[in-house]
Symmetry: C2
């Protein structure tokens, strides 16, 4: 995330952490080069459009702890990182609720062109009332309504990306001495409950047209959305049987479509187990309970500043991240308390790290694949960039040795690298249907 | 402009022109390095949000001639160009009418951070009905109403950039072991006729806070807006007395504030006058009348496809670029025709090139400074990048010799380089007033 403190709150205070350089290009191009050296598939940047102000009904704790504030626009980091790399993909979170479809579609197409087909979009609909207020609204839309809005939005951007310019619009134009053939460019006309649009897409087809689509919604409605639209799905860690059930449900709902499912993980690796334990102790001296409470209050929709340590927490319905609330209630039991929450914090968040020697960490990762049927991992940073270097230098070679990690990048776009197919989305993905229309649009003029 | 055909329509067909590489990072980083080698102050990227569909009531001509379509998002080119340079400034056009102030302010602050204070914004309010339709509106706002909207928008983004975080918010935070001191960050609350917002700015202060502000409105209302907000003003070429009067009026209205006024110019330079004339003939073989008509129809709000060559043109009131219409009517006289318009096209636009040996071009540029009191030039490309290399290799050394062109970049941000003052805007610029409020905001909490 393009900020100082991301998930593991407080670790930016560690003397070797470089996250306070988040506002320089060098920090990001260095990170991208490191990941490409480690043959990572992609770099994923999360985003939120508001501040965490549920805790104590104020953003003060988040500001003090730099818990995702200040926060830059993540999309603008990509072009410089793309220029510094050749293969690394980029997954960028963008909240569709506050972006005009026409302009957003152009931004994404621009990124896909400039990166040579390495753009990915993590589709989110937001969960913060503070973001809604920043946009001039009294509060955000209700949880399930946001997904209805998102479904309409997706059809609209698919129409722009896939349905406006035929594949051969420029080639046919060149054959007649023009740049593009207007007969092979279709105007997109849309009048829906939430959006209206009447325009051709401003950008000629990019390598992937639709970027690789990521999604992380784990609620019932969120999974239905993911099963329809997402190619890659992020799931939170937690007890493996729960994750395995979630993964099975996602795959069942996506039916014929392959999904690349990545589980969130935080790794603390040493050359030996003892070294890893020492590293954990060193890191956790900087973990921030206040930052973690500010973050958890916002994502659970519960103001923990109002609770004593052992007072039962009332987790009623919330417009926040529904799956987080459900998961917390499941883990903590019917009566849970702030103390139980804080006990879960290890490195400044509820996401517990996997700690061990390189062999142990490799075992744990492979265990996730076997036991929960995930395809990969969304690693969150601890002390950066050393946490990435540790993985690349210590864990990757072992995984390669075991034949479960690539030794070189596959050719092609981000989609081709991830799925061995592409560069365009194929049926039955709903985006592909818009392309069919375009290919037959000429007769209609 | 992040497109194939910009102002001089059709020249992308010249065998040495590289504009069809517009969708690669290499094209842009190469251009930026070339400009920095030539000690250019900045690279300016124009933008429009719709297609030119006034001519023949269709976008077909613009599409065939690649007249500003396809068109990428210009902002996304900047981070890669910034990573490839150290001093070059970046002026980016963004139409405020379709951008949420809160998100736009974050984008610009992000750019100013990543470029180390080299961000500039060309404020436009749009002039195309096709853009409005793309956004789901029936038509755009009326000309003068767009400027009223813009005035409100400016106050809002000033409040975010200048008024939310105190200069020492992070330093004061560090002194107390925090990242930032919440008491030194002010929530911006705004309820105006067009916008509502209630939020802190998501980004800590960037080197310039408010980017260098550019504007090009030359109508009466546009000049009033420019005189209040702009630091740099683009004016079109044309007969010098008219430009001189416009420049004098802008300076009078801006009163105590210095303005950097740049006149649009297209240069065709040779080592000798004969070589320049030959180059012009070579270039103009590729100039596109159809592309120029499509562009002129949109910017004048007149469909020239409906006119015979010698039929009098009815230039009634328009929501397009008012100053263009006025200028055309002035130049062509009370009855003007399509033939008179086409006669003005030399290289595929109404902007006539300055053609000559390096000495002659240097004389012409200095004549503009003397006669019209401009500070500099906004050069549009012909056959790129060779047109820039010609200027840098042939004209710049002569201007340096004559003591009117720098021999090295000044230190500091874009604003400091241009004005020798900064990095922040100073009174009486309206942005500075918001900063004063922030500095005294602590007592109010």
């Amino acid at each position: 995330m393009a900020c100082v403190g991301h998930i593991q709150q407080g670790l930016w205070r560690h003397p070797r952490d470089q996250a306070t350089q988040y506002n320089t290009l060098e920090y990001w191009t260095g990170m991208a080069r490191t990941l490409e050296r480690g043959l990572f598939d992609g770099l994923f940047l999360a985003d939120v459009l508001g501040v965490y102000d549920v805790y104590g009904n104020s953003p003060d704790a988040a500001i003090r702890e730099a818990a995702q504030v200040p926060l830059l626009d993540p999309m603008l980091l990509v072009p410089a990182m793309a220029a510094a790399t050749q293969h690394l993909g980029f997954g960028i979170t963008c909240n569709l609720a506050y972006e005009t479809p026409y302009l957003f579609a152009r931004r994404v197409s621009t990124l896909d062109h400039l990166t040579g087909g390495r753009a990915g979009w993590n589709i989110v609909t937001g969960y913060l009332d503070s973001a809604a207020r920043a946009m001039g609204l009294a509060a955000q839309m209700a949880h399930d309504d946001r997904y209805d809005l998102a479904d309409e939005y997706m059809e609209l951007v698919y129409a722009l990306w896939e349905g406006s310019w035929a594949d051969d619009a420029c080639a046919a134009g060149a054959a007649m001495g023009a740049y593009a053939d207007p007969a092979r460019i279709r105007r997109v006309r849309h009048e829906g409950p939430q959006y209206r649009l009447d325009a051709i897409h401003l950008v000629e087809p990019s390598p992937q047209r639709t970027p690789v689509l990521f999604q992380a919604g784990a609620s019932d409605r969120g999974r239905r959305f993911a099963a329809r639209h997402a190619e890659c799905v992020f799931v939170n860690g937690g007890p493996k049987p729960g994750v395995a059930a979630l993964v099975a449900d996602l795959r069942r709902q996506a039916a014929a479509r392959p999904l690349c499912i990545m589980v969130g993980a935080t790794l603390v690796v040493g050359r030996t187990e003892a070294e890893a334990r020492d590293k954990l102790e060193d890191y956790r001296r900087h973990a921030s309970v206040e930052g973690a409470l500010a973050h958890a209050s916002a994502s659970l929709g519960i103001d923990f500043a109002r609770y004593g340590m052992d007072e039962p927490v009332q987790a009623g319905p919330t417009q926040a991240i529904q799956s987080n609330v459900d998961a917390m209630a499941r883990q903590a039991g019917p009566t849970w308390t702030k103390r139980k929450l804080i006990d879960q914090f290890v490195l400044g968040s509820r996401q517990p790290p996997i700690v061990g020697s390189a062999e142990q960490v490799a075992d744990a990762l492979m265990g996730w694949v076997t036991d929960a049927d995930v395809d990969g991992f969304n690693l969150s940073r601890t002390v950066a960039p050393e946490c990435l270097e540790d993985v690349i230098e210590l864990v990757v070679p072992i995984l390669q040795e075991r034949g479960v990690y690539k030794r070189a990048y596959a050719p092609g776009t981000y989609r081709e690298k991830l799925f061995g197919a592409g560069p365009l989305l194929a049926p039955p993905h709903p985006a592909a249907a818009h392309r069919q229309v375009a290919e037959h649009a000429n007769a209609a003029g």
